[in-house]
Subunit: 297 residues, 2 copies
């Protein structure tokens, strides 16, 4: 029986375009978010507005949450008026936030007790991919639940990967954050060297994009760095949150991550100068401060 | 007047496939290399073998060198029986090695005195792109010389970029090395975290390849890391040579590069265990040693 009724809780920078993708794909969407503005916006696009996460879940075969951090997910999933309070037996709950794998496992266990199939399905690709419906989605949970919910995920992503049991979607996402943020630092250092050595930074970007230094970060964030566009696709403070989860997992598993520690230190420098709400490309401003020089085209 | 006669000196891992691309493109090729084996191999593919770099240059409208480091280029370009000894006035000399920008400028000045148009045109893309004729090539020198030699470069590369005056090709290449090697460290740390946290590393690679952590290093070297294939596309000791040039340029220009310094330290750890001739993906073995764990699929 095909899923037709989907719920969405958490209409932030990522949540809004993801909700729009679901409407576009023809799902009947019920939404809830703390702020009224985003709810009105998505309701105007064709969704029904609900008064709580529980109400969303009551109306939906699959309920999705897209929230900032572990405590938000715990509150919205497990708390009063939360998803599991409203969700029917046999329905599904998919958390697409980036949170601690241990919290994802806790939520999944609570869902199992209530007969709700839970998946942790965090995403990668930034706001750009969310708008295009081309997110990378890494999914932890029961394989049968994954297969059941897959058409809903396919409406938002084009690289939907089953990662393993509950929590493993989050684990793979944390690996993604290590690779992505580390790559961004590498790109920013390259631009800094180019700037200090008098290179044309547009040329640097073009030359590097065709070779072994090619990356999403180079193609998408290097142009913003050299244009000094620090508007957030993904915010520094959220990257820091993800990297805290990375280091918690690293501590649990005994994993030294020296490059990631450096990335965190530089993001911390950005935050120290009030840049926590800037896009992660602002890591370049920490290097600029170290170097006493500007990176610009 | 179209260039037809090209010379090539230095038939290593990169030089051989580049020479083959020139033969395939229909250029009449004369080659020289210190070792006899590679010369015989490329001669069998249709090139004429010469007895010295000077002899190559005498036979060629454009002479190319592809050598390990600055001293090699100084010796082969400027020394006895070298390129500039044999090169005719009005011919071109293109050094495609990765060397110090200052040495590239010195060679270009010596060439100018003899009426030889000199370009520094280092490449990116590793042995894979060399074999496919799809290298990224960043070129420093006079714009008119670049335009004259461009058909020869186009036979080896598909992203041929004019970077600025003499030395600027090398400068941009050094930026490329900062971005590329730093990206590789980020990928290796992600795989280490995944391995320690029990993730399926094939899934990690697949999930990351579709999102914001996507990179050439992830697509090309992460699979080799998890297969424990450390054969060189690009050797650790040559990466270390490039990063020495990076840090020289960084010192000249007052550029702090903390991530790059970490990459160098980890490559040094690989070298300390006898891995200098391994591929740069062996940086993962330094992390494995730190963690006391293996990264494998």
């Amino acid at each position: 029986m095909a899923i037709t009724r989907v719920g969405f809780v958490g209409l932030g920078i990522m949540g809004r375009p993801m909700a729009r993708s679901l409407i576009r794909a023809g799902f009947g969407l019920t939404v809830y978010s703390r702020s009224r503005g985003p709810v009105d916006e998505i309701a105007a696009a064709g969704a029904r507005a609900a008064g709580s996460a529980a109400e969303v879940a009551r109306a939906s075969e699959v309920t999705i949450t897209m929230l900032p951090d572990s405590p938000d997910v715990e509150a919205v999933a497990l708390g009063p008026d939360g998803v599991l309070e409203g969700a029917r037996r046999g329905s599904y709950y998919v958390d697409m936030s980036t949170i601690a794998p241990a919290v994802a496992r806790k939520v999944a266990a609570a869902g199992r007790e209530r007969g709700v199939g839970c998946l942790d399905a965090p995403v990668s690709g930034s706001d750009i991919a969310a708008q295009q419906g081309s997110l990378s989605i890494m999914v932890g949970g029961e394989p049968a639940d994954f297969e059941a919910v897959r058409p809903v995920l396919d409406a938002m992503g084009k690289n939907v990967v089953y990662a393993g049991p509950s929590g493993m979607g989050e684990t793979v996402k944390l690996c993604n954050q290590v690779a992505g943020n580390g790559t961004l630092l590498a790109v920013a250092e390259a631009l800094l060297l180019g700037a200090k050595a008098g290179a044309d930074l547009e040329v640097v970007i073009q030359a590097l994009a065709g070779g072994a230094a090619r990356s999403w970060m180079l193609e998408n964030l290097a142009p913003r760095i050299v244009r000094r566009d620090l508007a957030p696709g993904f915010m520094v403070r959220l990257a820091q949150k993800d990297l805290r989860h990375v280091q918690e997992l690293a501590a649990e598993t005994g994993t030294p991550l020296p490059g990631t520690a450096l990335v965190q230190a530089l993001y911390r420098a950005v935050e120290a100068h009030g840049g926590g709400d800037r896009g992660i490309q602002a890591i370049a401003t920490a290097l600029e401060r170290l170097a006493g020089a500007e990176i610009k085209a």
